[in-house]
Subunit: 174 residues, 2 copies
DNA sequence: TGCGATAAGATCGTATGCGATATAAAGCGC
DNA sequence: GCGCTTTATATCGCATACGATCTTATCGCA
């Protein structure tokens, strides 16, 4: 039984009272408040989506990235790791372990392309396709509290944002 | 030297040609294409933001969540772990290691609240405040390719989306 | 043809997220 | 004031992300 190594040894002879009175809000100037950061809005919305999907994904026994991979493969079977990575915005270092896990679970097969042994082609198994159908109902549109047209518009705006960011980042890398 | 345990043992006597001809796109019906998922747009936009911020954060020697924590603490010093967690949408299991790392780097202090020894109050050090100032210039508005009013509107919409999701998730948990 | 360059995946180490659980302090009921 | 519950934080294990690096296969070209 290890002790918490947190500062639970707080000495009571502390000089000042650390209650609410000690919290000093700071003035805002320009884009300073966390709440004004678009990146933080996206970051926290992503966390919220993950939690919202959790219950449905648990029923399928999948994690969110695993589910995305299944969806992407259902749309187009036999993709290489790179092709799948382009769609998911991930590279092999992240994707390979996910795919190996899904293969181990019996939802897909990974086989070297005979025409180019460097490439690995991924194909869903029958179980994988069934899983995709089973999750077809998962729909959080209602939970977003958005009207269908708002939903579609926001979706487009976020996609545009993402693509602009990627382009700008690639440019700045020279 | 371990061998890759990937399927690099592809037998050349494979029955079918696995080139592009083998990739079968499927029909769309309802919300099926990955590109139509708002959750995926947010997920991938979050990845894109992380990569866009990478260069600036590397200069500060911070990761993204570490930076968010510094920003949140700069706005209000002396918060407890729970209070900070509410703002960052994280809990102690995620936050504690991040805060311990930042403490170890000398950017903040963690001390038990003498008035309630269960709580830990977090305060930026002078170095932490300097770091916040140093990162003040990081601004990706240009990289988003959005006009200021579009930026602000999108930010609001994403925040609304996030809050709706959280509310809906909490409700369904009964 | 042979060999350096490039490409595709995989591996490893580090840093989040997060569910489950542990630990310690406060609250509270009698 | 003694136990039981609740609260605040921390720990642990698993699953991503991702930079750096490795292995193997293919390409380019002299």
């Amino acid at each position: 039984m290890k002790l918490n190594d947190g500062p639970r040894n707080g000495s009571r002879d502390n000089s000042r009272d650390n209650s609410k009175a000690n919290q000093k809000p700071r003035p805002a100037a320009g884009e300073r408040r966390l709440g004004d950061f678009l990146c933080f809005a996206v970051y926290s919305a992503n966390l919220a989506f993950g939690r919202a999907y959790k219950k449905g994904l648990d029923e399928l026994g999948l994690t969110y990235p695993q589910w995305i991979a299944i969806v992407a493969l259902w749309e187009q079977d036999g993709q290489t790791v790179s092709e799948l990575g382009e769609k998911m915005f991930l590279e092999s270092n992240t994707l390979t372990p996910i795919l190996k896990k899904l293969e181990q679970m019996g939802y897909l097969r990974r086989q070297r392309d005979p025409a180019d042994e460097r490439q690995v082609r991924i194909s869903l198994t029958e179980a994988g396709r069934r899983l995709r159908e089973k999750g077809m109902h998962m729909n959080l549109v209602a939970s977003t509290g958005l009207k269908p047209d708002e939903f579609a518009r926001l979706q487009e705006n976020v996609v545009t944002l993402r693509d602009n960011l990627i382009k700008a980042t690639a440019e700045k890398a020279e």
